[in-house]
């Protein structure tokens, strides 16, 4: 990293950190620059890796599919007009429809069947039993159409406890992860920039 680069990065870092004190012009400036850069970055990457190879090049090669792709692009872009804007509902429908269709087998498989397979273990030990009870109890917490009474209520309560253990564990691990990031930025400020480390 060049010296100019380090200074630039350091100033930006401090400007963002200043938000911790309160919202201020330095933060707003850094925020707007970050957002502007990131929009530019995404547009560049999108144009260069998707629109050029998948739309522009096929058209230049005379591939009719390229024209179909171009039509979708244009339909999407009708949004800028108030009169033709409704046409953009067509590409939206493709996304929603195809997305729904694609997700059904994927969801059932990855989120339901494979998880069930993992619960039903080939050997049964304490952990397998705790695991199975946890899954059943959590499911009963998500049971909506029955008043929580009797044994059902007990199961749902147990479910919330399992949920709380999960949330607690995630929280602990995530605190760990996030602190690592702060450690990295602090090392940059104290070490790379100020040379104190």
């Amino acid at each position: 990293m060049s010296d100019a680069g380090i200074w630039l990065a350091a100033i930006g870092t401090l400007a963002i950190f200043s938000f911790l004190y309160r919202d201020n012009p330095a933060y707003r400036a850094a925020e707007q620059i970050l957002v502007g850069l990131s929009v530019g970055y995404l547009v560049v990457i999108t144009v260069r890796t998707t629109l050029v190879p998948k739309v522009a090049l096929p058209i230049l090669d005379g591939d009719p599919w390229g024209i179909v792709a171009a039509v979708w692009v244009l339909l999407m872009w009708t949004r800028v007009s108030t009169r033709a804007g409704w046409l953009s509902r067509l590409p939206l429908a493709v996304i929603v429809g195809a997305g729904a269709g694609l997700s059904i087998p994927a969801m059932l498989k990855a989120r339901v069947l494979s998880q069930l397979g993992a619960v039903i273990r080939p050997e049964i030990d304490v952990n397998a039993v705790v695991g199975a009870i946890g899954v059943l109890a959590t499911l009963s917490y998500f049971y909506f159409t029955r008043p929580p009474t009797g044994a059902f209520r007990v199961a749902a309560r147990t479910g919330t406890w399992f949920l709380m253990v999960f949330f607690g564990a995630t929280f602990g691990y995530t605190i760990m992860s996030r602190l690592s990031l702060l450690i990295g930025r602090t090392e940059f400020l104290l070490g790379d920039w100020l040379g104190l480390l």
Binding site: V44, V47, V55, P91, A93, G97, T138, G159, G172, G184
Partner: protein, 199 residues
């Protein structure tokens, strides 16, 4: 339209015939292209809204000018200069965009602490359980926790591996069923609020 594409994509999963695969490939490509077009459109909307602010000299127009400058710089660098190593595009990315992003990400460390301080109250059994598990995991994964013996690290590992995984599976199964139901209703046109129709 939604239904046609939906069922076509669903049935395709069970059809190994090459015709299905060709169709599948095309639709995936269309989805990519539509998303890409949306991104460019988003960029344009973004530029337009800032342009309006600047030209109207509305409050904060100077920031909008900065945003526009950053956008233009990145676009020009990337579209004209290319995206390889040693280009202005990557220099901007490495020295400005990436560190800024990392810094915003690291703000989380502060927020996580503040959230823990205010949110972690043992108000009832549920909250106490959440609190204790989080503390055990935090202690179990640092050297100081390990110095107290193997109990804490082992407990932390067991909590993560057994009950937490069970709860996660329960949540996933519920989400899986819920997603399928929503997807099916959308495909059948029963649920249309995503396009503003009142069902």
């Amino acid at each position: 339209m939604v239904g046609v594409f939906g069922f076509a994509m669903l049935i395709q999963y069970f059809v190994p015939h090459p015709l299905g695969r060709v169709l599948y490939g095309r639709v995936l490509e269309w989805m990519q292209v539509i998303f890409a077009a949306g991104l460019v459109l988003g960029g344009a909307t973004y530029a337009m809204s800032h342009l309006r602010t600047v030209s109207g000299r509305r409050e904060g127009w100077i920031y909008s000018l900065l945003a526009l400058a950053a956008l233009t710089l990145m676009l020009a660098a990337g579209l004209i200069g290319g995206i390889d190593r040693g280009t202005l595009f990557l220099w901007l990315f490495n020295n400005l965009q990436a560190p800024l992003q990392q810094t915003v990400f690291s703000l989380l460390a502060f927020f996580v602490a503040s959230a823990a301080y205010r949110g972690f109250r043992a108000r009832n059994i549920d909250a106490a359980l959440l609190l204790i598990v989080a503390l055990v995991v935090m202690l179990g994964r640092i050297p100081i926790g390990e110095m107290t013996g193997p109990f804490l690290p082992d407990l932390a590992r067991w909590l993560v591996d057994v009950p937490a995984v069970a709860a996660k599976r329960g949540i996933l199964i519920g989400i899986g069923l819920g997603s399928v139901a929503v997807a099916l209703r959308v495909m059948l046109g029963i649920e249309r609020a995503w396009l503003g129709g009142r069902r």
